[in-house]
């Protein structure tokens, strides 16, 4: 329990730092360009931070059930059937996210020799990992929801 709250805190902090850094980098890049001294790394670093903010933020949103769903039809189902449908839905989401994680880890590995935009010594893998880590985290979150549903049935 203690490790999970620690991990969550880390995830939250990383996402916030990435978002703030991405905005400030865009600002600095814009000012530099305005002053006639464009920084070629600012945009790339900003999109790098943005990718991490997105996929970590998506997991934070998933943990709190913030991804929008249309659940009006579900209300009309009898409780037992509804539970079954939820089970199916979250099972599919878990499967999808874990498959996405699997293939994006592959993508991250395959792109290890490619450098990211114009930044030397900075492998594309570090950006690609945002999708892998994000979908893995979301997959685990979805698995947690499945687990909760299973426990509720008992």
């Amino acid at each position: 329990m203690r490790t999970s709250s620690w991990a969550r805190h880390l995830e939250e902090s990383l996402a916030k730092v990435a978002l703030l850094a991405s905005s400030l980098l865009v600002f600095v890049g814009g000012v530099a360009r305005f002053l006639g001294r464009p920084l070629d790394w600012s945009i790339d670093l900003a999109t790098f931070c943005f990718a991490w903010a997105v996929f970590l933020g998506a997991d934070l949103a998933l943990k709190e059930g913030r991804h929008v769903a249309v659940d009006t039809l579900l209300v009309f189902l009898p409780p037992k059937v509804r539970l079954g449908v939820w089970f199916l839905i979250w099972g599919l989401i878990t499967l999808f996210l874990l498959i996405l994680a699997w293939y994006s880890f592959q993508m991250a590995y395959l792109s290890r020799m490619r450098t990211f935009q114009g930044i030397p010594e900075f492998s594309y893998t570090w950006v690609a990992l945002s999708v892998s880590v994000g979908s893995l985290l979301m997959g685990l979150t979805a698995l947690g929801k499945l687990w909760e549903l299973l426990r509720r049935r008992e």
Partner: protein, 426 residues
């Protein structure tokens, strides 16, 4: 591709979050095409986040959440109160004006509706306004956030459809002001009929007005600063959004409301907002690859060009369809999914893409307020503790007013286009 759409619709109906229904639908297309590699969906999801012009979205979301936390809201409320408090139905008129002003710092209708219902709702109920009326009023007037720049909906449309965000912002103002006027008239009629009281005994004097304007100056001028900086084209929209973040921090500093805790709270809200919106964009890119592969945007354009032909009728058809879709689907998802399909169709019909975008985005946003599914509606009803029945009974005049404004804007493109023409096309 038919399999993808079917899967998307079935999963959606079963209550799966829209973003995953889109993702799974898109992934099925890759499974059904043996020639395509399965690392591609991951690649597509990533590539959206590497698009510099999309950085306008997180920067503007962060800027408006910061403004909200850093004391801007309260100052705008004082300003609105001074300006319209003397009218009959004072607090209701203040709500509309506050929405108009808040629209200028915030880009999200749901956030504004929620915030205003919390801020003004309890006091309005205490003064005798029915909860259903307050819910509908706050919900609908928050649509102004979608029309008045900055607007996340317009940024999404502009960056996905590659339409000038500066012109879209300028275009939103005309409709926004018209909407605000329509809501104020609606409130005035209802207030007279029901005898809602004024808040202040008399209209404000010049001194009072000046005082109120001075305290909220930095918030009131913000949308104008945005337009100016976009107009001169020195900065791209993403940079303007980033500058807005810095501006919000400076305003917070100036108002002495800048604390670490508030910045943290704004960041916490923002990462979640960005996570949901950008994940939608990423997943829509996976589905969108299949749609492009099957040339669906071209097919839709051909349909409009050959079967409908008349641009105004084509536009009316699209808007009515969006209004119907919006009763069920989330407006952000609608904009993200349909912009790549509808922009080529609008172009083929010869419609002005700024005019089309403002109308499309606003029409999608009306779906936030229409039953059975509407996020703003859920939010305001739960805050005001009223049922959907009471909300609908009290909300229909506002709904009609909104439709009337959309109809006028459809009939007279100048309502949308006069400012873009004046500022950008001179």
């Amino acid at each position: 591709m038919i399999l993808s759409f079917l899967a998307f619709l079935v999963l959606l109906a079963l209550g799966m979050p829209v973003v995953f229904a889109i993702g799974i639908g898109g992934f099925l297309f890759f499974l059904s095409q043996p020639g395509l590699q399965l690392t591609m969906p991951a690649q597509l999801a990533l590539s959206e986040t590497q698009n510099f012009s999309l950085l306008a979205i997180p920067t503007f979301i962060l800027a408006s959440n910061l403004m909200n936390e850093l004391g801007v809201t309260r100052r705008l409320l004082v300003f609105a109160h001074t300006l319209t408090g003397f009218l009959q139905g004072g607090l209701a008129q203040v709500s509309v004006l506050l929405s108009l002003l808040m629209g200028g710092v915030s880009g999200s209708a749901i956030a504004d509706a929620t915030m205003q219902a919390r801020l003004l709702g309890p006091e309005m109920v205490r003064k005798g306004y029915p909860p259903g009326f307050v819910a509908a009023l706050q919900g609908f007037s928050a649509l102004l956030a979608v029309a008045i720049p900055p607007s996340i909906g317009l940024i999404l449309y502009g960056s996905i459809g590659q339409v000038s965000i500066g012109q879209l912002f300028a275009g939103g103002i005309g409709v926004g002001v018209l909407l605000a006027a329509a809501y104020m008239v609606t409130v005035a009629i209802l207030a007279r009929r029901r005898g809602y009281a004024a808040e202040r005994p008399r209209p404000p004097g010049a001194g009072e007005l000046w005082q109120a304007f001075r305290t909220s100056f930095f918030a009131v001028v913000f949308p104008f600063l945005l337009l100016i900086s976009l107009r001169f084209g020195v900065f791209v929209p993403s940079e303007v959004g980033a500058a807005a973040v810095v501006y919000a921090l400076l305003v917070g500093l100036l108002y002495r409301e800048l604390t670490w805790e508030r910045v943290q709270r704004a960041l916490a809200h923002s990462v979640r907002d960005v996570g949901t919106v950008a994940l939608l964009i990423s997943m829509a890119a996976v589905l969108g690859y299949g749609m492009k592969w099957e040339m669906i945007p071209q097919k839709v354009s051909v349909f409009f060009l050959e079967t409908i032909q008349d641009p105004q009728i084509g536009l009316a058809l699209i808007l009515v369809a969006l209004l119907l879709l919006g009763t069920l689907l989330d407006s952000t998802a609608l904009i993200i999914l349909l912009t790549p399909i509808l922009v080529p169709a609008a172009k083929a019909l010869g419609l002005d893409l700024v005019y089309f975008g403002v109308l499309m985005v606003l029409t999608c946003a009306v779906g936030l307020l229409t039953p059975p599914v509407g996020l703003s509606m859920y939010s305001v009803c739960s805050i005001m503790g009223c049922g959907l029945g009471a909300y609908v009974r009290e909300g229909w005049p506002f709904f009609l007013a909104t439709l009337l404004v959309l109809f006028l804007a459809w009939l007279f493109p100048g309502v949308v286009l006069f400012l873009p023409r004046l500022l950008f096309r001179g």
